[in-house]
């Protein structure tokens, strides 16, 4: 059952000024996969992730060579509408970053941007998205209170709900649990597991166990190079490259 990849990265190099941070990386990601990106600090995981929704465009010194296709469209051409791309490729950040608005307004932020005003429709989205991230029962009485009053784990799930509300097909997550306690982390990991029915997920993590638990495939980066990319089980139990073996057994990093 060979499908088309939903994300296809071809020979990508990234520079910040003269600093070469992604080196000739190619990789394909298929629909409804969860791909974990692992590697030591500074190896370029975040940079790589942010290529996929063009969040690096904001960095002045950023330059890139190569092509990235998402749903068969090269996203680095002049004709691409970056805003449309970002609706389709959502992103969850390392630190929960809800807007200083109500829970409700956080979820509908992306809808309002699109000019949607239909209250019934938005009410429906708010409920279904909060259900989807398992937050509905906890916040259904506080929809109009500030999102900043929620706990860190709740805030992060709210940020996920907010991302899902604009109906992306791909969700990028950059160490989404690194600032959370173990219980919130477990909740979010379960959530990721459920989300892959509907979305393709790319997740950066420093936690090997997490990568093993949530992902189908794992990509190991080292100093800007993609060292190994394989099914998660294979990569963790039977790595083909010595460097990968050293990294996952904690010999460095």
């Amino acid at each position: 059952m060979q499908q088309e990849p939903i994300i296809s990265v071809k020979n990508v190099d990234v520079f910040y000024g003269n600093h070469h941070v992604i080196k000739n990386v190619s990789l394909d990601i298929f629909p409804n996969e969860v791909v974990a990106l692992i590697g030591p600090s500074g190896c370029g995981k975040s940079t790589f992730l942010r290529l996929l929704n063009r969040m690096n465009d904001f960095i002045e010194s950023f330059r890139m060579n190569g092509q990235i296709y998402i749903e068969n469209k090269n996203i680095y051409t002049r004709h691409v509408q970056v805003e449309k791309l970002r609706k389709n490729v959502g992103m969850v950040f390392q630190k929960p970053n809800p807007f200083p608005k109500s829970v409700y307004e956080n979820v509908v932020y992306g809808l309002r941007i699109q000019g949607i005003k239909d209250k019934k429709y938005m009410d429906g989205i708010v409920e279904s998205m909060l259900q989807r991230v398992g937050l509905w029962n906890e916040v259904k009485d506080k929809l109009h209170q500030s999102a900043l009053a929620l706990s860190g784990g709740q805030q992060q799930r709210l940020c996920i709900a907010r991302t899902l509300a604009v109906e992306p097909s791909i969700v990028l997550m950059d160490e989404p649990t690194s600032s959370l306690d173990p219980i919130s982390t477990a909740t979010i990991e379960e959530l990721i597991f459920e989300l892959k029915q509907h979305y393709t997920i790319v997740i950066v993590t420093h936690n090997m166990q997490q990568a093993r638990r949530v992902s189908n495939k794992t990509a190991f980066f080292y100093m800007g190079e993609l060292i190994e990319y394989d099914d998660t089980i294979n990569l963790f139990t039977n790595p083909k490259v010595d460097l990968t073996h050293k990294y996952i057994t904690g010999k460095f990093g």
Binding site: E83, K84, R86, F93, N97, F99, P100, I113, Q114, R162
Partner: protein, 289 residues
Amino acid sequence: MIPVTSKFKNNRLKDKIFRWYGFLCTLTGVILLFIFLYSILAEGLDRLNFQFFTSLPSRKPSDAGILVALIGTLWIMILTTIIVVPIGLASAIYLEEYGKKNKFAAFIEINISNLAGVPSIIYGLLALEIFVRIMGLGRSLLSGALTLSLLILPIVIVATREALKSVPNSIREASYALGATKWETMWNAVLPSAAGGIFTGIILAISRAIGETAPLVVIGAMLYITTIPTHPLDDFSVLPVQIYNWLSRPQKGFIENATAAIIVLLGITFLMNSVAIYLRNKWQSKVKW
């Protein structure tokens, strides 16, 4: 061992001395303020009756009131706000979010800091030439409001920029990642998050504006006027000009009027500053980054 301990002791002593010195300095300011408030209140409080608020100026101190000046001050507050808010916000947003790295913005930035330090009477002279003479607005409320807008524009710009700076980048990223454009991000995420700081800055700037006398005297605010302004192009007076006028009269009764008017002006300023502080605290407790 020994030198270390003695140095340590020495520092503690210095700390103690400084603490007392600082306390006394602070106290001086507070005490002087209280003496000032007390003497003003003692002299002017009796004069603050209904007649005082509802009467036009008069040659007889006991018939005179602040109605014209009070309404003039309210007009000035409103007009100045209407003029300064859009210009100040737009400039601040441009400088902080759009023009960050270009030479022109850097040039403007230096000049804004300089403008904030220009004595207010100079603004009066500038305004006399531009608004009163060249633009032909005369000695009107509008001229006055434009003058004061010019005067407080740097304050509003600086305060707004500070407020925008304090909005963490993660908020902007969150908005962009949901498919918002820069414009949408500004309006829907950044400005609402910075609103507390911006409002505080505007209120403090306006409260500074309504206390200004010199530039308004230069452009010709009326020292003696008995008609209530009903139109932005009407002649006007404001509280500080009225106070200045009364203080320059020899009769004891007018001095008393002036102190009473000072109480009113102080009251308005204190009220505005309290609102500003309230807003700041409210926003700070709500928005903890």
